[in-house]
Symmetry: C2
Subunit: 370 residues, 2 copies
Amino acid sequence: MKKDNSFTKFFAYLSSTEKKILDYIRDHEMKAFFRPEDINESILSYITRPAKRLRPSVLLMACGSLGGEERERLAVPAAVGVELFHTWTLVHDDLIDNDDLRRGQPTVHVAMSEKSKKSLGLDDDLSKEYGRDISVLTGDMQHGWCIASFVDCALGNSVDPVLILKIIKYLQSYVLGNLVYGEVLDVQYGIRNWTDIPAVEEDELVKILWLKTGVLYEFSGLAGAVIGKNTTNFEDEQVQSLKSFCSNCGIAFQLQDDILGIVGDEKQLGKPVGSDIREGKKTVIVYESLKNANETEKKEILSILGNKSATKDDIDKITSLFHKLGGIKRTDTLAKMYLEKALPYLDVIDDSKYKELLFHWADFMINREF
Amino acid sequence: MKKDNSFTKFFAYLSSTEKKILDYIRDHEMKAFFRPEDINESILSYITRPAKRLRPSVLLMACGSLGGEERERLAVPAAVGVELFHTWTLVHDDLIDNDDLRRGQPTVHVAMSEKSKKSLGLDDDLSKEYGRDISVLTGDMQHGWCIASFVDCALGNSVDPVLILKIIKYLQSYVLGNLVYGEVLDVQYGIRNWTDIPAVEEDELVKILWLKTGVLYEFSGLAGAVIGKNTTNFEDEQVQSLKSFCSNCGIAFQLQDDILGIVGDEKQLGKPVGSDIREGKKTVIVYESLKNANETEKKEILSILGNKSATKDDIDKITSLFHKLGGIKRTDTLAKMYLEKALPYLDVIDDSKYKELLFHWADFMINREF
């Protein structure tokens, strides 16, 4: 595969998705319900920041691969819906993780906490509560907007109402349930001491990756597929294949994300390299490195991991240990493994420009630099 | 109207709704998605505690009044949906208000914070964060369950799919938008000093009441009506009448709720009388009393209001001032005014046991003691 050429086409597709999303939300009727101003500002902040738009692109590619351009066009509100779903979970996740930055700018709870100091004259404690309150309500309203967008696929775009109802139920039960499960496991593991390992095993870490990321990619593939094929049969072979393809790619994506969080480029990532380390994020990289470390190395890693005031030197030191002890390598191997698992699922899909794009996406998963 | 008899019938109807809800959720398929245990426990906690079930009852009464018993039966998942909507907003609202008790037992964030001290060995700060995290995610999952329940009205109970999609969209845009708006105004007014009044006017306070409470009663009437009449025309005269009836009754309900928060019975309320005063809740009672107070009385009220450690004596003192200065009286007058406004809307509804129950509900709004 010619990397440059394939990536060019793929990036053009991502850009066209971004344009579709921004066009769709520009004068959206929902905006009348985003009140007061702090809510309006917060609801629109993440979604209008430049982003890759992978999930909605996956939905549209899966849709096009089974239904062509016409069905792909009908699926745009669903693509916006999946981006909004991702967005509201980010807003709540950022609050839960006490994260300061998202896509290179302040997170909702931080931005609103700061703003309230001036606009409402609040002290540190009260402004922190205000930021928390606005971010909870912002995510809630975006959650509503997400569902309203899926509804628009039927009421506005004449996709089968029963099909849309089935998609909404699947999203609100299976997808959301797994995501919440992953989120809580992540919080609970975050609390555990790493000297406890192997209490947390590699399988568990990959399971959390799937719950937190894979399941929404899986959904994007599934939703795109059923809209594309115009079927309410979620067990259809092609539908199930696209679902499994996206599920495995989603895991590969997140594994690669963990690598980029350590070795990536700060500007392209939108967050400081090393922030995963300072937050003490539990990844396969850390797990594998600790497993292979001697006592001195183990102590060194554990003294830096989760240390919010770790210096640039500390980050460099732990990064070379992650390389040396095989943590990066193992994660890369796993990512490639999940990708290999994913690819054969495309065999049952007819050749088309959409199928080609799905291949490019898979390729991008493990060869990307941002 | 014979009070005793009408209340007996009305209470029996509320009990039957409670039974329907508990039966519906007992072995519900959604429970498979409530993981891990802290999430499962939190999701089920409020909804299984004894409660009045007014919103789902209103939905079912409105439905029955236009469609009879058969349509009422089909609407049960929607009634559960509206109770779940109310429930998830309570979970998030309790976090935002830092409330400790709900229906006589600990709120989700407090219960989980306490539990995590033992189960995860967390200190005060981390356990508070854990409680926050679980309550955010619990509300999110209940929000999903709520939407899934509405979907079941179509997929499981053969109500028109387009009708259900329209209801879901209305709930997720107009209803949620107004509720979030009210929630934020409440937070912002909660921060303001009462010495600023009359910066906050009575109209504003009633508007917040409507946003936080009226709009969901309005929705319950509307959703019940369209399911009952089996129409996708939300502008239908009878539908609009039931909507307006419920909207006005909702405001009356909340005004009465504010009175009961001061003069009600602790056991029946499920929270300590005086908690509204200790929290400094901005109500018409306080607004009217301050408006009519002399300087000494004003100082006395402001010294007790919002004082978390106010004594029983303080509460008694401020309560008699609220009586003396006309705060209670004015709120009672307003409640009766909204009720008077509501009643004529029932003129376009044919006589039936459901219409009778709707009258009983209206009566209960301003004559209830819990």
